[in-house]
Symmetry: C2
Subunit: 496 residues, 2 copies
C-alpha cells in the first residue's frame, strides 16, 4: 500500500499543471503580450502564484511526507520523495513575513539599481542593498537551521542540490592558480593571429532562417517547441513545449546565432527529460549548474569546436552571401577570441571563470558575515587586479554594480555558471574517452555520439540523483577542474 | 456595511483572474502551441477548469448572495449582484452527473459527426444525437425549474439574458412574411448587374499588411491586442489584451479581409468595456447577440456600405496592385451579392436570416418535445423550400448535418446570429436619426460618429442592463425588425 505516496504524487501533479500555466503565460508576457495587457496579467499571474504557494505549503503535506517515508517504495519512488521533500522544505522553511520582506526589499533595490548603475551611484545602491543583505542572511540562517548546512551552503543548495561551498572553494582555488597565467599566454598567442571581422548588415529574416536551420541541425524538435523573439532572450515553456526566444542584431549575427545555440542546449535537455516521470519533481531537470552544462556543451564544447565551425561556414554563406570573414579558419579564430574585460556577460570562455570566482568569494564572505556590503568595492578591485589585471577603482557601473543577481538576493547562484562550464568539459572528456572518433564525427555533421551520450547520462536521468552522484555516474569521477583546464589549453594554446 | 457584497466581489475578481489565464492559454493552444504540447496542455487546462468550477460552486456563495441582497447597495452594485446571481445559478443549476453525461454525449456525437457529415450518414448521426437531445431536454427542464422560464427560454437565457422565445417568434414570424419576396426581388435586380471577379493570387504578406491597415482604420488598439493566424479564426484573449486570429487564402482576399473586419467589431467591444467595472461580472460584454451586433455593425453596416467600400478600393490597389475588379462600384456589387444556398456560414446578409429562422423553429420544437430528432430532415426540407426555394431532400451533409452547434447540445444559440444582425440595423437606424450626416462622414473616412455612438450606448454599458433594457436605452424602442427590413431594402433594392 502506497496511500500517502500516491496522494503526494497527485498533489504534485496538480502543482506541475499549475506551473505549466504559469510558464506559458510568463512566456506570453515576455514574447507576445502587448503593453496594455500588463496590469491585468500581473494580477492574474500573482493570483496563480498565490495558488501555487498555497499548494506547496498545504498543512497536510508534512504528515503525508512522513507517512510516505514509512511506505515500501522502490528506488525511483524514493528519489521522487526526496525531491518532494526538497520542494516542501524550500516552500516551508521561511516564515511568510520574511518572504514578503525579502521580495519587497529586492524589488526596491532592483528598481533603484536600474538608474543607480548608469549613474555609477554605489552609495545610493548601498542604502537599499544593506537591507537585502540583512534579510538574505536571515534567510540563510533559517535555511541552515532546517538543513544543517552552513548559511551559504543552504542558499546555494537551492540552485545546486548537494554541492557545498568547501568543494567549490577547492575547485575555484585550483583554477585561480593557473587561470591568470593561461590568460596571459593565450593573449600572447592570439596577438599573432589577426581576425577578419564580418561585415553587416545581416537582415533579420536571414538570421531567423539561419537560427532555425542550426536548431534543426542540433536536433531541436519544432513539433515540441518554438523559436520567437523578445527583448531579453530566454528559454521558457514546459518540457512538453519548449519556448526559446532570441533577439537579432543587424550589425552582428554572432550574438543571436551563438545565443540560439546556447538556448538549444537548454531546450534539448528539457525536450528529452523522461516522459515517464513527467509531472513529478523527480522528472525535472537536475539543477542550474547541470542545465548550464547542457547549454555550454552546445555553445562552447560543440559549436565553437573547429569541426562544427567548418559546418557553419557554408551555412553562413548560404544565408548571408560570401565574404572573407566566412573562411572557416577565420570564423574559428573569431569564435575563440580572448580578451579580459570588465563585464561578465560579455566575457569569453577563458576569462569568464574569473568573473564567477570573484563573485563567489565575495558573496560567500558576505553571507557568512566575514565582510559587510561596504567592503565590496575594495575586494572587487583587488580580485579583478589579481585575476584579470584590470583596474576597476571608482568604476562601480562596470564593477560591482553590473549584475542584477545580488539586487534581489539571489546569493549562491553565480557558481552555477562556471560549474556548468566545468561539467561540460568533463562530459566531453568522458565522451572522447568512450568514443575516440567523436571530433571527427562532429566535423562530418554527425552528432549522434554527442547527443546519445548526453541523453543516456544527463537528459534521461532528470532528478534521479543529486548533483554529485549524477556527475560520478556520468563521468566516473567527482567534478574535476582538470578537464576544464585541459579543454582550455587544448583549444586556446594547442590546435583543439 | 457591505460585508457580504465585498466578499463576493473579491471572490469573482479571483475567478476573473483564473479566466484570464484560461483565455490566454486557450489562445496559445489555437494560435501558437506546437502539436506535441497538446497532451500536457489539455491536462493543465482541465485542472484550471476544475479550479474555476470549484470557485463558481463554492458552498459559501448562496449565503453570501442572500446576505448581499439585504445590504444597502447602489444601482451599479445591484446590477453586479444580479450578474453574480446569474453566474452562480448557471454553475449550480445542474447536478455534476448531468453536466458530465452531457459533455460526454456531446463529445461523442461531435466526434462521430466529423466523419458522418462527409458520409451523409443521418441514421448514424441519429444514434448519438438522440442521447444529446434527451440530456439537453433534461438540462432545460432543470434550468426551467430554477428560473421559472419555459424549457427553451431557459436554454436561450444562457446566451441572450432576458430574451424570450415568444418575442423571437413574433419577430422571426414577421421576417418570414417578407423575406422570400425580398430575396426574389433582389435576385431579379442583381441579374442585370454583372460583377467582375478579382484575380489572384493575393500574397499572404500583402493580405496581412492590408488587415493591419484596415484594423487600425477601424480603431483596433494594437497596444492592447494582437492579430495572428490560426486554422479556425477566432476572437480570444481578455478585454485588456484582445487576441484576434484570421486565416489567409491566397486565391480570395475577401474572406480574411471581411473576417478580420467582423472580428475587429467584437474586439472593439471588448477593448472598450469600462475599465472601472473590469474584474466583475458586471464588466463583461452583455450577450452573444449584442456581441454579434458589434461584429455585424462593423462587417455589414459599416464595411459593406458604399461609403466604406469607396475607402477600401485605394487600399486594395495599394496592397495588391490595380485590377478592374477594384473599381469601387464593382467592389460594392461584389460585397453585396445575394444568392440562396444550402450553407449558413457561406450565406450573404439577405439570405442568412432564413437559415437561422429555420433552425430556431426546429430546435425550439425539439426542446419543448413537440417533435423528435427523427422529424428534423422533413421539417428542414419543408422550411428550406418555403424560405429559400431549395430542395434538400436526401442531402443531409449540406442540410441538417452542416452545423456543429447541435452536436454538443448548444440549443438556444442560433437566434443570436440574426438578433445580432437586427440589433446592428437598429443601431444604425438610430445613429442616422441622431446624426443625419453619418453616411457622408463614413465616406470621408470619419468614423467618429459611429464609434462614439457605439461606445456611449453599447461598449460602455457592459452588463449594466439586461438585453431588452439595453436595446431600449440605446434606440428608444424594443427590438424592431422593421429596421433590419428597411436596411436590406435600402441596400439591396434602393441605392443604399
Ligand atoms: Zn544558459
Ligand atoms: Zn461573430
Amino acid at each position: 500500500m502506497h496511500t500517502a505516496y500516491a496522494e503526494l504524487t497527485r498533489h504534485y501533479l496538480r502543482l506541475y499543471r499549475y506551473d505549466h500555466l504559469a510558464s506559458i503565460v510568463g512566456w506570453d508576457r515576455n514574447a507576445m503580450m502587448p503593453p496594455k495587457g500588463n496590469e491585468a496579467r500581473a494580477a492574474a499571474e500573482a493570483e496563480l502564484q498565490a495558488l501555487i504557494h498555497r499548494g506547496r505549503t498545504d498543512p497536510r503535506l508534512a504528515e503525508l511526507i512522513a507517512a510516505a517515508e514509512a511506505e515500501p517504495l522502490d528506488d525511483v519512488e524514493r528519489a521522487n520523495l526526496r525531491e518532494i521533500r526538497r520542494n516542501w522544505q524550500q516552500a516551508n522553511a521561511l516564515p511568510e513575513a520574511l518572504v514578503e520582506a525579502r521580495s519587497l526589499a529586492g524589488a526596491r533595490c532592483e528598481h533603484a539599481w536600474r538608474s543607480q548603475r548608469p549613474a555609477n551611484d554605489w552609495q545610493g545602491f548601498l542604502e537599499n542593498f544593506r537591507e537585502v543583505v540583512r534579510l538574505s542572511r536571515e534567510e540563510a540562517r533559517l535555511l541552515s537551521g532546517h538543513t544543517g548546512l552552513s548559511p551559504y551552503d543552504a542558499l546555494m543548495d537551492r540552485f545546486e542540490p548537494g554541492m557545498r561551498a568547501a568543494e567549490i572553494e577547492r575547485i575555484f582555488g585550483e583554477v585561480r592558480s593557473w587561470l591568470p597565467g593561461l590568460i596571459a599566454r593565450v593573449g600572447e598567442k592570439q596577438r599573432a593571429e589577426p581576425v577578419i571581422a564580418p561585415v553587416g548588415p545581416f537582415p533579420v529574416a536571414a538570421q531567423r532562417a539561419l537560427s532555425v536551420a542550426v536548431m534543426r541541425m542540433l536536433g531541436f524538435d519544432f513539433d515540441g517547441g518554438r523559436l520567437d523573439e523578445s527583448a531579453h532572450p530566454f528559454s521558457g515553456g514546459v518540457p512538453e513545449d519548449v519556448r526559446l526566444t532570441t533577439r537579432y542584431h543587424e550589425d552582428d549575427f554572432t550574438r543571436a546565432l551563438l545565443g540560439t545555440i546556447h538556448e538549444t542546449g537548454h531546450a534539448r535537455y528539457e525536450q528529452n527529460l523522461p516522459r515517464a516521470w513527467c509531472g513529478q519533481p523527480l522528472g525535472l531537470a537536475r539543477s542550474y549548474g547541470i542545465h548550464e552544462s547542457q547549454s555550454l556543451s552546445f555553445e562552447m564544447q560543440l559549436a565553437r569546436s573547429r569541426g562544427f565551425v567548418g559546418l557553419l561556414a557554408p551555412l553562413l554563406r548560404e544565408h548571408f552571401g560570401d565574404q572573407p570573414a566566412f573562411d572557416a579558419d577565420n570564423l574559428y579564430r573569431l569564435f575563440t577570441r580572448v580578451k579580459p574585460g570588465y563585464i561578465r556577460i560579455a566575457a569569453d570562455e577563458v576569462t569568464y571563470p574569473a568573473h564567477v570566482i570573484l563573485r563567489f568569494e565575495i558573496e560567500r564572505a558576505l553571507i557568512e558575515g566575514e565582510i559587510e556590503a561596504e567592503d565590496i568595492p575594495a575586494l572587487w578591485d583587488e580580485k579583478m587586479q589579481a585575476l584579470l589585471g584590470l583596474d576597476t577603482r571608482g568604476n562601480y557601473a562596470d564593477g560591482c554594480l553590473q549584475d542584477v543577481h545580488w539586487t534581489d538576493g539571489a546569493f549562491g547562484y553565480f557558481p552555477s555558471y562556471t560549474l556548468g562550464a566545468m561539467y561540460a568539459a568533463q562530459w566531453f572528456a568522458t565522451l572522447r574517452r568512450v568514443q575516440p572518433d567523436v571530433d571527427g564525427r562532429i566535423a562530418q555533421g554527425d552528432f549522434a555520439p554527442v547527443f546519445g551520450w548526453l541523453n543516456d547520462n544527463i537528459w534521461s536521468q532528470a532528478s534521479r540523483w543529486e548533483t554529485p552522484e549524477l556527475v560520478r555516474r556520468a563521468s566516473g569521477e567527482a567534478l574535476n577542474p582538470a578537464h576544464f583546464r585541459a579543454h582550455l589549453e587544448a583549444r586556446y594554446l594547442g590546435g583543439d
